[in-house]
């Protein structure tokens, strides 16, 4: 019984981080067909931003979080305008450009901060015990943030004019354009929301992790796995896929402690198995070119 509780709680916590990252990635892919490999690099930039504001400038964590989200979102939109938009029609070029961008961010941070492992204080310090399992308040915050973001995105996409524009663009860019929707602006706004979500993830997760210039790589692999598992471009798929892989990881740690380092590989194996049965992923979205 104790083991089950441990697995459930760990799975929910692991899954929340992946969900936060994967939703943002999935959103921009679903709307603009942009595979933004630099998504987790923006998450890393937010983490460094929080480090600078809290540890170097001595300001409060909440201010640091807000500054990180605003600055990184702006940077994401600038990146879209000057780097991604000009080559947007060439998907492979976008893919390569965003890989290059992520590596540029990594190298800049490596040169400025070196490879020293850094950390930031928790937004809410301490832990609570639930059914005998100790859970950080920060982890609870991550879990709540994942649910809240999902709720807000659902409201944004389903209840607002902007959401309607985003959905229309996601369904058929050309027709949306003919209907008077400024497709380029929608894509840019979506990029802003997507990168903002990466920054928010960085902000809530960074106190639980260490800040270093390669911290974008490991979540990138898991995020891609979640998105592929859930179905490219499907927000619901990303959300559910994230928790499936989160639980897969927790199962490995608790049932095979000697193989705890394999938790990432096992999660990726789960992804492959699902894809063998459903190549489009759990909730795959078909695009007009594929219909």
């Amino acid at each position: 019984m104790n083991l089950t509780i441990d697995i459930i709680i760990s799975g929910l916590i692991n899954g929340s981080t992946y969900a936060l990252l994967a939703i943002g990635f999935s959103l921009i892919f679903g709307v603009a067909r942009i595979v933004n490999i630099a998504h987790t690099a923006f998450y890393m930039l937010a983490a460094y931003c929080i480090y600078v504001v809290t540890q170097k400038m001595g300001l409060n964590s909440v201010w640091a979080m807000l500054a990180a989200i605003v600055l990184v979102t702006l940077l994401g939109m600038i990146t879209y305008k000057f780097l991604i938009n000009p080559i947007r029609e060439h998907e492979s070029a976008v893919l390569i450009a965003t890989i290059a961008l992520a590596i540029i961010f990594q190298e800049i941070l490596l040169n400025v901060f070196t490879g020293t492992y850094l950390s930031v204080p928790a937004l809410i310090d301490g832990y609570f015990t639930i059914l005998g399992v100790k859970v950080f308040y920060q982890q609870l915050l991550t879990f709540c943030a994942a649910l809240l973001i999902m709720g807000l995105l659902w409201a944004l996409l389903g209840k607002t004019r902007m959401g309607l524009a985003i959905r229309s663009t996601a369904q058929d860019r050309e027709v949306a354009n003919l209907m008077g929707i400024n497709e380029a602006r929608v894509a840019m706004m979506t990029m802003g929301i997507s990168v903002g979500l990466a920054a928010l993830t960085g902000a809530v997760v960074v106190p639980l992790t260490i800040v270093e210039p390669h911290m974008w790589l490991s979540p990138l692999i898991m995020m891609m796995a979640v998105v592929v598992l859930g179905g490219l471009g499907s927000l619901k798929g990303s959300f559910i896929g994230a928790y499936i892989l989160g639980f897969a990881e927790a199962l490995v740690v608790f049932l095979a402690p000697m193989g705890a380092f394999l938790k990432g590989s096992v999660a990726l194996t789960v992804m492959i198995l699902v894809l063998l049965l459903r190549p489009e992923g759990l909730f795959g979205v078909y695009f007009e070119e594929e219909r």
């Binding site: 850094l118 740690v253 608790f254 402690p257 380092f261 990432g264």
Partner: protein
């Protein structure tokens, strides 16, 4: 002064200037390659230790090689070995073929040092390893002396002795727990990162702890770069472990210590945690790494011998932090290479090897004596034990990294008691008293 004299004076000055410039330019130098992951703390330690040694030696006129004095020129090589072993071998190849160094010091990951070793040996250059612990590095010397004789271990001692020292630290903590917390049977969890150097430590630990009267409750192998270990910690807490034996050299040492401290897991961490050796650990764990005990080489105020304090404080004055073990490039240059070159009066590698392997010499961390294997073949590995190298154990106590071992330590019941100057008693976390004290 007439025009002709002025011209003569000008020519004389120009000649003198050119002569002195050429003397500086073409003066004989000893080139020492310093190889390590330079963008990381380990590489910085390599470089800083070497720079300190070179500055001190050059300030005294350099190294006496036969009749002349030669200054040291350091060549930095970024091995980037955490990320790419190919980068590491390329860096070593560059040192050999482009920079044409006379000696190499450094190296950190065993996985990278093994191929780096092959390159240095191929060029017959002495390579003093200042970071990798795998025994294979020195076993190669015994097995194929002709090829590998140019390799010497500088620091740390091999993983067999690292684990032996760590077992002694665990035994000391277990004794304290029995004494102060009245725990009759100590339960121990083994947590080792998944890395080559840590692999031999798992069976050794599983075999040895029961002989020490402890119960091994489980083995966990997180990734060396894991950032969240709360699941592992939950499982460890459920196992009822009193001691967590850590085997970490990578970044996982930080989140593990931070999260265990924050969750107040009622078990003390003892073992190897390279990140916990650094001054920055307290800040990196946001102060949650309190009471973590780890094997170490240097700490403020701790003196193994008369060379320890001058080195440690010179290092702190120059770099603002306590040296970690990779800074033993200092000892490699100052106490291994310099006296050997001066004794040989040449830079010939073969001649130097024959002198160095037979020397017994003092360094800031203890006395170096190179071992031989059971068949009497040279290993160029470091001797462990009282009177030689023992290392120290340090513990984070309320923001200070203090030396806690050897403290009234006897290697055998007949051995003399060893306590280094500046060592203080270990402390158990208060939450352990709360959890176990009846």
């Amino acid at each position: 002064m007439n025009k002709f004299s002025k011209r003569i004076l000008f020519l004389a000055l120009a000649f003198l200037f050119t002569l002195s410039f050429c003397t500086i330019l073409f003066a004989e130098e000893i080139k020492i390659g310093v190889i390590g992951p330079m963008k990381f703390v380990q590489g910085k330690g390599h470089w800083n230790g070497a720079v300190l040694a070179a500055e001190q030696i050059n300030a005294r006129g350099g190294i006496k090689v036969g009749a002349e004095r030669m200054k040291i020129k350091l060549i930095q090589a970024d091995s980037n070995e955490f990320l790419s072993i190919t980068d590491a071998t390329n860096a070593m190849e560059r040192l050999m073929t482009k920079d044409k160094v006379d000696f190499v010091v450094g190296g950190f990951r065993s996985e990278a040092v093994l191929p780096m070793q092959d390159i240095a040996m191929e060029h017959h250059k002495i390579f003093i390893d200042c970071g990798a612990a795998h025994p294979e590095l020195c076993l190669r010397v015994a097995r194929d002396y002709k090829t590998y004789k140019y390799f010497f271990r500088g620091t740390p001692f091999n993983s067999k002795y690292l684990v032996q020292a760590a077992f002694i630290h665990v035994g000391t903590v277990a004794y304290m727990m029995k004494k102060y917390l009245n725990i009759p049977k100590i339960k121990i969890a083994i947590v080792a990162e998944k890395a080559l150097w840590a692999d031999p430590m798992i069976p050794a630990s599983q075999g040895f702890f029961p002989k020490m009267g402890m119960e091994v409750v489980g083995v966990w192998r997180p990734s060396p770069v894991a950032t969240d270990v709360t699941a592992e910690l939950s499982a460890i807490q459920r196992s009822g472990a009193h001691i967590i034996f850590t085997v970490f050299s990578s970044s996982v040492g930080i989140p593990f210590a931070r999260q265990a401290g924050e969750l107040k897991i009622p078990a003390i961490q003892v073992g190897i945690n390279v990140e916990a050796q650094k001054d920055g650990f307290w800040r990196a764990t946001q102060g949650k790494g309190n009471y973590v005990i780890c094997s170490n080489t240097y700490a403020r105020g701790v003196q193994d011998n008369e060379l320890t304090a001058p080195f440690v404080y010179a290092y702190i004055r120059k770099y603002g932090e306590v040296p970690t073990y990779t800074a033993d490039t200092y000892a490699a240059i100052m106490y291994a290479l310099k006296p050997t070159i001066e004794a040989a009066g040449t830079l010939d590698s073969d001649r130097l090897v024959s002198i160095l392997e037979n020397r017994v010499y003092l360094t800031p961390s203890g006395t170096v004596k190179y071992m031989k294997d059971a068949e009497g073949r040279p290993l160029h590995d470091l001797t462990f034990g009282p009177g030689f190298l023992t290392g120290i154990a340090t513990q984070w106590q309320n923001g200070r990294l203090v030396g806690v071992w050897p403290y009234h330590w006897k290697m055998t019941p007949q051995s003399p008691e060893v306590t280094y100057k500046g060592i203080v008693p270990m402390k158990l976390p208060p939450w352990m008293y709360k959890a176990y004290k009846k």
